[in-house]
């Protein structure tokens, strides 16, 4: 019974607060109720009224009416505090599983100031902030993440209790864009890469000088100039040389390197490795089932690798942007954004 009621309520709320990265608040989607203190205040007014009646005391009547009217006035004030406010998700954050992931919102006040606005999501709260009338402000809400993949809080609650804390007006934002949660880095055991050309030494040997190169089998996407055609002629194997002299010693981080480990653990190992490699200047590549990221270096590359680890095998959340038209969420715009 309660469940049915709750579901119906949720549907009703969802109609009023559609999924969107940007939500402006008005009478349609602001809810307002007295807080616990507000209820006690109501009881207090009743007690004062009875005191006034029994003692036939006009001034107690007057005080009661005054406070009662202020309560109603506060209701409008609290409501107005939120109405006209617009909250836009500007950047769903990125982070490692278990960390708090920052969600950047831009809150712009309407004609009136928005005072003591609190954002919260599940257990995570943000200290109240104030926005003067007509101005905007960036706020960052940390959302706790549990595991890697896409994280999209179902509802981000926006609430205000200003001025007296006797009433609370609240609404929700139901963001579309998910945050990307990287696997929690776990120190990887010293395991060899499976991407080898048969000769273990050549992959492992510390290289000195210009002439040393890492040899590995050809894969789709390798430049034809890199293929060691002489060797091909000799052995019939297409082998590619990555010259350390030009771009360091490319190292491959490989999903298949950790025999016996569970997929999630592998991803955690890889994440750790990516972070380790990021400290040096050695280019590295990432080899995931169904996705290969070419060796490269730099922050953008690290982020790209981590993202690939994060969303590997994960479906983006349903009803994302323009889901109603059957288009699927894809990563391209996100990357462009990050690069910008």
């Amino acid at each position: 019974m309660i469940k049915v009621f709750r579901e119906r309520w949720q549907r009703w709320v969802n109609r009023r607060v559609p999924r969107s990265d940007s939500q402006s608040f008005n009478q349609k989607n602001i809810f307002i109720l007295p807080t616990g203190a507000g209820v006690v205040f109501g009881i207090l007014l009743l007690v004062m009224l009875i005191t006034g009646i029994n003692y036939q005391n006009s001034l107690i009547y007057l005080t009661t009416f005054l406070l009662g009217a202020l309560f109603v006035g506060a209701m409008h004030q609290t409501h107005r505090n939120l109405s006209g406010l617009q909250l836009t998700l500007t950047q769903p954050g990125e982070g490692f599983a278990g960390d708090e992931v920052p969600y950047r919102f831009r809150a712009s006040a309407g004609k009136g100031p928005a005072i003591a606005i609190r954002l919260s999501c599940e257990d995570s709260n943000l200290a109240p902030f104030h926005i003067p009338a007509g101005q905007a402000m960036d706020v960052t809400l940390p959302v706790p993440s549990a595991h890697r993949g896409y994280l999209r809080p179902d509802m981000v609650r926006i609430e205000t209790r200003f001025p007296f804390g006797l009433l609370k007006a609240w609404s929700w934002v139901r963001p579309v864009s998910p945050a990307i949660i990287f696997p929690r880095p776990v120190a990887a055991p010293d395991a060899g890469s499976t991407v080898e050309d048969g000769d273990e030494d050549s992959a492992r040997r510390p290289t000195i000088g210009n002439d040393n190169a890492d040899l590995r089998p050809w894969r789709e996407g390798d430049l034809s100039q890199r293929v060691m055609w002489k060797r091909y002629a000799r052995t019939g194997q297409m082998v590619v040389a990555d010259w350390e002299g030009e771009q360091g010693n490319p190292q491959w981080l490989d999903f298949y390197a950790f025999a016996g480990a569970d997929n999630e653990l592998r991803l955690s190992y890889l994440a750790w490795q990516v972070l380790e490699r990021a400290k040096g200047t050695t280019p590295f590549g990432l080899n995931l089932p169904g996705q290969v990221i070419e060796p490269d270096q730099g922050q953008a590359h690290v982020t790209r690798c981590l993202r690939a680890l994060a969303v590997w095998g994960e479906e983006p959340p349903r009803d994302a942007i323009s889901a109603q038209h059957g288009t699927r969420w894809h990563e391209a715009p996100r990357e462009k954004e990050a690069a910008a």
């Binding site: 990265d21 009547y61 006035g73 109240p128």
Partner: protein
Amino acid sequence: MKLTQAFSLGREAVEPANALPSNALLWLIGSFAILLAPQWDRLPIWLVAACGILAVWRWLAQEGRVRLPGRWLRTGIMLVLIAVYVATVQGRFTVDTAASFFVLAVGLKWLETRSTRDFYVLFFILVYLAGVNFLFQQNILWALVNFMAVALLLVGLQVLNAPDLPSDMPSGWRRLGGLLLKTLPVVVLLFVFFPRMAPLWSVPLVSGEARSGISDTMRPGDISNLAQSSERAFRATFGGEMPAYRDRYWRGLVLDYLDGETWRQGREEGFRRPGRIAMDGGVGPLDGREYDVLMEPTDQRWAFALEGSSAVSDNVVEEGDDLFRFRRPADSTMRYRLALDESRSPGNAELSPAERRRFLQLPASGNPRARELARELDQRFSDEGVVDSLLSRFREQEYFYTLRPPAMPEEGIDALLFDQKRGFCAHYAGATTFVLRAAGIPARVVVGYQGGDSGAGDEYLIVRQYDAHAWVEVWLEGQGWVRIDPTAAISPARIESGLRDAVAEEGSFLEDEVLSAQKYGDMAMVQWASLQLDRINYQWQRWVVGYQGQSQMDLMSRLPGGIGMRELGYLTAGIVGAGLLIAGLFSALQLRRGERRDDFQKVLLSWHRACESAGVPVRQGETPSTLADRLAQARPSVTETARRFARMVNSHYYKASSESDGQELRRMRRLLGTMKRQLREASKGRQPHSESGTTS
């Protein structure tokens, strides 16, 4: 999962003692201090001191200079203070004791105010304390002080809810003021129309303490203490002419039993359960013989009345000895109405033997010289002759009326009559009654007030404590009770124009009251200001404080249509409903206006929707041109229209356009219409392609 749990555990840190914003706490402490002010004279000193110390302690803890006490110390402090409280209260239960308990509770709560919740608990107690204060003090200045304290509390709440509000935003005071202005009409309407029901049940007395004012015993010297106070006793308005000064004898009590040197009431007033509060002191204009008294609380049942009065309002009843009593002790300001009734002179009623005994009672021994004088007079004169000769003795011999009588510890009446010859009204009234009784003439001491000065505009009479007076009533055969006043014989000025003139030479008038305006009666400005203030207060008491039951009905009966209690109820509901409705409509209108203002926004939104339905999701922070470009990529057929539209949006927002807003808007709408049509046409042909193109 484990990680998140660990996380949420870490987040619930223990709240430090200064979790509350300091400035919010300061407002609360300030409000508490103000709320104590109206009660300063009734709260025990130890309680005020304890509260002060505890509040300061809390404040120092907030500043980080000291620590808040631990649980044991806190419990210890609590137990000690409650024990002291119980010891002082001694089982009496009045509002007074309840109020001091409230104060104690607030004081103790200071040490436990750590969280927002505690703050609200304090807020509620303090608001109720403000309400309770109104039971004690209803004059306009204290009311303002009280309302100010409530306002402080409300500002404090705002600070609590937004402690770091930047200074360029409207302050708590301004916001509160705005709210008050908006709600004031509703408050006034509610105040006028909310049905004033009769009390639902009988409630404890406001106070059980004795107040300054006349008491039911009289020792020589008692009234001269009262004479040092300029506190107001009551105010009276007359329907007709005010009686002359010398006729303003306000009878309150009859003291007929002499116990050593002390006069008491012979008939003890037995304990009666206090009835419900009746504030209905009569309504409508006063008729020629009626008068209306607004009495300050005395916590006693007696009402003061001129000689020969009868009760008009219900809240006073006539009891024996031509005295009037309230049904419930006057624990708050009382208004009652009486009428002067010439026909009620006692006439020829006979004294019963029991009454005769009562009014002839004297102690078995003492004051032999006074008894000797009585015997002598009794032998020489008739009853009336005794009275006359006694009064002429006072008039002719060197008797003085003084506020500084010498001490007469033993045989006081003899000492007064024969040695010192200096005394106050109580001395002379007691001595006169003694002599008359000794001469076999029934007599009694009457205590009350004599005199009273006009208030501002001569509209009403103000009677103050220094007008307290004692005189004598004597039973004369054929005439009944006759008032005689020995003080009039000794110091006619006291009766003709009041105490100030009577003791002018002595300079003892209000010698202990430095701040009283009455003391500086000869300084016109001070006197004038004081009287104007009193007039404002009088009107406030009559029309605001006294607006209850019958006075509401009286006002309503002047309005068209028969408005009864039930109609008032409907009216109140109507006011509340209408108030809510108007406020709701107002804010809805405001919102609508805000929406209508930005038509461009609407057009833009409509464009965004069109883009999305064409499979081009709008991204955050995208400029119109890039959106148009992407739309053009997806649907080449609208390239031209989309780009033109984007240019127009840009030129509108960057104020590059020379057109007026209306023209611009029309063109944009037209263009949008075209674009939508083109999109529809294009999508018919391209539907299958777009599906395969985006899902890959």
